[in-house]
């Protein structure tokens, strides 16, 4: 990574009453990144974002933006701008006045303000609505105002707090594409806070998964999905089958274990595991067959189809095996007719390649 634009070092936030919202978090965000802070509500992601903006004082640690320590820089002097969850578009000002506000209060010359406001409005396609008041606009339009108002300041970092959560599903989809497009156009680092994993996976170049005030993993979307480092990340990002297993022995390349419902299985592993592990496997990696698969080396188990949910492109099947082990399988409905081809109550075999499973040690 090139010179980081934001460095977060041992940052903590303790609220009065003893709640620790952010606990000793450290990481760097690079130039031009679309960085997502992802986690369930109450994980500290919004608090962290607000500490970057300066709106929330830190209890400890250090935040550097563009190499400068922000400890004594109030929010109105920081090179960051925020798009608020509620948008916070000033209701007593027109769209144009809203966008111009940040330039006016910092003494940018009138003609330059005018030009930059026009540019910003053009960028978010609001030129026609410049004279409107916010109460005459839809949620999506108000959000564009909030975006233009922040981007017109040409910040080093744009902070977005759950920017899509107040929009309806269709608009959210469009806005995701637009935000990625916008980020590529303006070339500013975006830091987005979201609780929606789809949002983070589809937009961000890197994601920090947070839980209970701590960062669990920072990685690209594909790495997070395919190589989660722990049970929380595996479970939070996408769907996953988690199977507890007891390690019986381990060689240099494989771990032999006794898994609940699966019996003795061998999985590839290149680092030492403890006495117990958790085997994580994504539902789409699992296959269903009527007959017992004969290929060697597969992880396989027989079970009863408990549930079939048809989603058009895919079907989500739940198979119950021995020991009360429930396996979720996502089947691609890649040929017409018959859907998943399995029905509730059927006896089937579920199998997958051992390499598709992830061994989680924590």
């Amino acid at each position: 990574m090139s010179e980081p634009i934001v460095s977060i070092r041992n940052v903590s936030k303790k609220f009065p009453g003893g709640v620790v919202a952010v606990d000793q978090v450290s990481f760097d965000i690079g130039q031009n990144e679309f960085f997502a802070l992802l986690g369930p509500s109450g994980c500290g992601k919004t608090t962290l974002l607000r500490m970057i903006s300066g709106l929330e004082p830190m209890s400890g640690g250090q935040i550097l933006i563009g190499g400068e320590d922000m400890a004594n820089t109030p929010p109105n002097k920081r090179p960051t701008n925020m798009v608020f969850q509620s948008y916070a578009v000033f209701p007593h000002m027109t769209v144009e006045q809203n966008v111009a506000y940040g330039l006016k209060v910092t003494g940018v010359a009138a003609d330059e303000t005018k030009r930059r406001v026009a540019e910003a409005l053009d960028m978010v396609k609001l030129t026609e609505l410049a004279a409107r008041k916010p109460d005459q606009m839809s949620g999506g339009q108000r959000q564009r105002v909030a975006l233009a108002r922040a981007l017109v300041k040409r910040p080093k970092v744009l902070l977005l707090d759950e920017p899509l959560s107040a929009l309806d599903a269709k608009l959210r989809e469009d806005m995701r594409l637009e935000l990625t497009r916008l980020q590529e156009t303006v070339g500013i680092t975006f830091i987005i806070v979201t609780h929606d994993q789809d949002e983070a996976l589809s937009m961000a170049s890197r994601i920090a998964v947070m839980e209970k005030g701590a960062v669990q993993q920072i990685a690209t979307p594909a790495e997070l999905y395919e190589h989660p480092v722990n049970r929380f990340v595996a479970d939070f990002i996408g769907k996953v089958n988690l199977i507890d297993a007891r390690v019986t022995s381990q060689s240099a390349t494989a771990v032999h274990c006794e898994a609940k419902g699966l019996g003795r299985i061998d999985l590839p592993a290149n680092k030492p595991c403890g006495a117990t592990v958790c085997i994580a496997t994504r539902p789409e990696k699992l296959k269903i067959t009527r007959q017992e698969p004969q290929e060697p080396g597969l992880v396989k188990v027989q079970g009863l189809v408990r549930d079939v949910a048809y989603y058009g492109d895919t079907s989500h099947v739940v198979v119950e095996a021995a020991d009360g082990l429930n396996l979720a399988i996502n089947m691609q409905n890649d040929s017409r007719g018959g859907g998943a081809g399995v029905a509730r109550g059927q006896k089937v075999w579920v199998h997958w390649l051992p390499a598709e499973s992830i061994i989680l040690t924590e």
Binding site: P75, N76, S86, P91, H92, Y101
Partner: protein, 296 residues
């Protein structure tokens, strides 16, 4: 909820007691008074309704105009002081921890629970020549003076029976009327507007002037009306704290109805005051219409 159009009978039934009450105790007496204002005093207690305009003619005599003008500015100054005091109070209550809010609000409205007359007499005890304010200042003054050799003993300040004491009394009595609507508006104000303003580079002062004040304007207007209108008609506070030097229009009206026994003129004065009030309310509606987009 259903519109009252869907349930006309229920609507009429429910509005009956209120209509009755308003008619009997407000509209009817006010109409009587209005008719009186066009009457002439014919004896000690007799009034003949002659539809004369001379009562209103008397209202614009300099002596009354002067008192009216003074009532206006005394009320205006009191209202302004209330606003300047109440604005930070309202914010302090809003930003206080949740369990403190009810207590702070209670403290604000606590004086309401005590009779106005008693509260005003209490102010007399505070402001009079050997009252608590003078005692406190005198103690400080004499203390400092003693350090410098005791050349200038303290002369008690004349704090009572002037416009200042009336304003102080009005501010004291009407402050809660300013705090409560302001508090209601500030409480509803989305604090992210203020954060957005700071985030966009505005200073605290700029945020206050460009964002906070415009967005709390509904509360400011309500508070100003709630304080200014009753101040304009106040008679107890100026009577007790202002004495003969600082009478307001309310005292003149009271005198006309009581000691002077001139009901027609008192009625005319009252109605001029009511018309002035209507004018202020019309001004409020004009402001409301202009700042559309801000929820009132």
């Amino acid at each position: 909820m259903e519109s009252w159009r869907d349930n006309r009978f229920v609507f009429w039934l429910l509005s009956l007691p209120g209509t009755f009450w308003i008619s009997l105790f407000f509209i009817v007496p006010l109409s009587v008074l209005w008719i009186y204002s066009f009457g002439e005093k014919t004896g000690i207690t007799d009034v003949a309704i002659t539809w004369t305009g001379q009562n209103y003619g008397r209202v614009i005599e300099p002596v009354y105009l002067q008192i009216m003008w003074k009532s206006l500015w005394v009320s205006a100054v009191s209202t302004l002081i209330c606003l300047l005091l109440a604005y930070p109070i309202a914010f302090a209550i809003c930003f206080a921890p949740d369990r403190w809010k009810p207590i702070l609000l209670l403290i604000t409205i606590l004086p309401f629970w005590i009779n106005l007359l008693i509260r005003t007499y209490a102010l007399l005890a505070v402001f009079r020549t050997n009252g608590y304010v003078n005692k406190a200042i005198g103690w400080l003054w004499n203390g400092i003076d003693w350090l410098f050799g005791g050349q200038h003993p303290f002369q008690p300040l004349e704090l009572l029976y002037n416009n200042g004491s009336v304003i102080a009394g009005l501010v004291y009595v009407y402050l809660p009327f300013m705090v409560l609507p302001l508090y209601a508006t500030v409480e509803r104000l989305d604090k992210s507007y203020l954060e957005a303003s700071l985030d966009l580079g505005a200073s605290q002062l700029r945020t206050l002037l460009s964002v906070t004040v415009p967005l709390t304007m509904p509360g400011i207007v309500s508070g100003v009306i709630l304080v200014f209108i009753p101040s304009l008609g106040a008679f107890l506070t100026p009577a007790l704290l202002g004495g003969a030097n600082a009478i307001m229009i309310g005292n003149v009206i009271e005198t006309q109805f009581k000691s002077a026994n001139d009901w027609p003129f008192g009625a005319a004065l009252s109605f001029v005051l009511i018309y002035a009030t209507f004018g202020i309310l019309a001004l409020r509606w004009a402001i409301t219409a202009r700042s559309k987009g801000v929820e009132f």
